[in-house]
Amino acid sequence: MDALGRAVVRFLRAAKAQIAFAIISLSIAFGKSGVASRVVHPLVRSQIHRAGWRLLPMTTFLAFALGLVIIGQTITLLTRVGIQSYVGVVMVSIVVRELGPLAVALLVLARVGTAYVIELGTARALGEVEALEALGIDPIHYLVVPRVVGLALSVFSLTVYFILAALASGYLFAFLQDVPLRPAEYFRQIAEALTAKDFVLLGLKSLGFGGIIATITCFQGLAQPMRLEDVAGATTRAVVQSMVGCVLLDAATIGVSLVR
């Protein structure tokens, strides 16, 4: 019981520190939106290029793999038992509401989030953060805000792309399997299954996943004194906490989507 209690207290402390860090980062993002825009805006663009554009090939591969393996199988199965009319509902439930945003978030966490911890942790360990402060440059404004904004926008964009690619590849698989389902019928079912709430929640969820991953990885890299040998441990912590954060947000959006 003691161990469980300590774990809960540790979790709550970590959550409190990270929520405080997120609030500070947000207040600086809004409070300094016009400050050094010619430095910060290019940094945001470079983060979008890094976390969005450069991940397109990997996202495409994952989306097609998911479409072929999971969606194709689902369509085939539904067709065999004669309930093709539920294809759209199943696709929207699996791909649009759940799998798409989460798969992209995990991909971005693995490829970019871990790199953030290493970069920022190394900068912290080498004293570069103090050098920024000595120059009157706010480290949150210069290092964290571009990453949070860039990653949130990247995860959102990649999620939309991922969903479209997965749905298209799923149909391709079904077509190759001679499933009697015309494209117009397939996409009509998907369109009918989608509601306005799905679009809103998809947007909020994917932006939230990006924000959570960026905030936690930046927090782990920056928010505590660090030596070079601590960077590996901080990276592991950041990955675990980001996954927990994303799953919690996912659970919250499921709860909201169930409210009529």
Partner: protein, 245 residues
């Protein structure tokens, strides 16, 4: 109630009133006590102490990176501890700091980007707009051939020079240097002595405006004939010495 310090003979940029400095990152543990004096344009302080005597912590305190454990630090008649966050950032722009051991350059940026960054950030300029001033400074400090090199590829002796250029780009009033010649050979040490003497006297690099300098060292003799005030840190005490020059 803030009490302005007594009017100094020359216009003081910084007034140190019985400051106690805490060791960097150690919480409340005091490392130096009784730091008193005023720093004005053209002053060249040399602070000597052994490793771990608190030299770096003193510069961090003067730069506003850590609060003093006791006493007061005044800038232009206002106590630094009472500054708003905006005033604090303005204060830091007026104080240039060259860190020890290579100057803590930003390892992912080139030398030019390192030097131009403060200018780009504070004056909202693109790199192209900041380039003439940054390149001018690099040329004056014999660094222009390294402009597009990242710090990791520089000779160890070149890195502190880049850190000096970065500290000078915002045209500070006070320049703090943490053991800048540690580990350097005689010609390089000579270059630093002459360059810093020129900065204190108001040379071309500062447009004729004399800077106030505080240099820490573990070899006082290196700065004989250059410094105007000498202080020794020993067992946590601030001990001013007579002019070695």
């Amino acid at each position: 109630m803030q009490r302005p310090p007594p009017a100094p003979e020359t216009p003081a940029l910084l007034v140190l009133e019985h400051l106690a400095v805490r060791a960097a990152g150690s919480g409340a543990q005091r490392q130096i006590e009784g730091v008193t004096g005023s720093i004005g344009p053209g002053d060249f302080w040399v602070v000597c102490g052994a490793h771990g005597s608190g030299k770096s912590a003193l510069l961090f305190t003067l730069a506003g990176l850590q609060a003093p454990a006791a006493g007061r630090l005044w800038s232009d008649g206002r106590e630094v501890a009472a500054f708003s966050p905006e005033d604090e950032m303005r204060y830091r722009r007026r104080i240039g700091l060259v860190f020890e051991n290579g100057g803590r350059l930003f390892h992912r940026l080139t030398v030019l980007e390192n030097v131009a960054l403060p200018l780009c950030y504070h004056e909202n300029q693109t790199l192209d707009e900041a380039r003439p001033r940054a390149e001018g400074l690099l040329a004056a400090l014999d660094l222009i051939e390294w402009a597009h090199t990242t710090p990791g590829r520089l000779r160890p002796a070149t890195r502190p020079r880049v850190a000096l250029a970065r500290a000078l780009i915002l045209q500070p009033d006070v320049l703090l240097l943490d053991d800048p010649v540690a580990g350097l050979d005689a010609p390089e040490t000579r270059w630093w002595r002459e360059t810093l003497r020129g900065l204190a006297a108001g040379g071309a690099l500062t447009g004729g405006r004399p800077l106030a300098l505080v240099v820490t060292t573990h070899e006082l003799e290196l700065w004989a004939g250059v410094g105007t005030r000498f202080v020794r840190l020993q067992e946590g005490r601030w001990t001013p010495m007579s002019d070695l020059g």
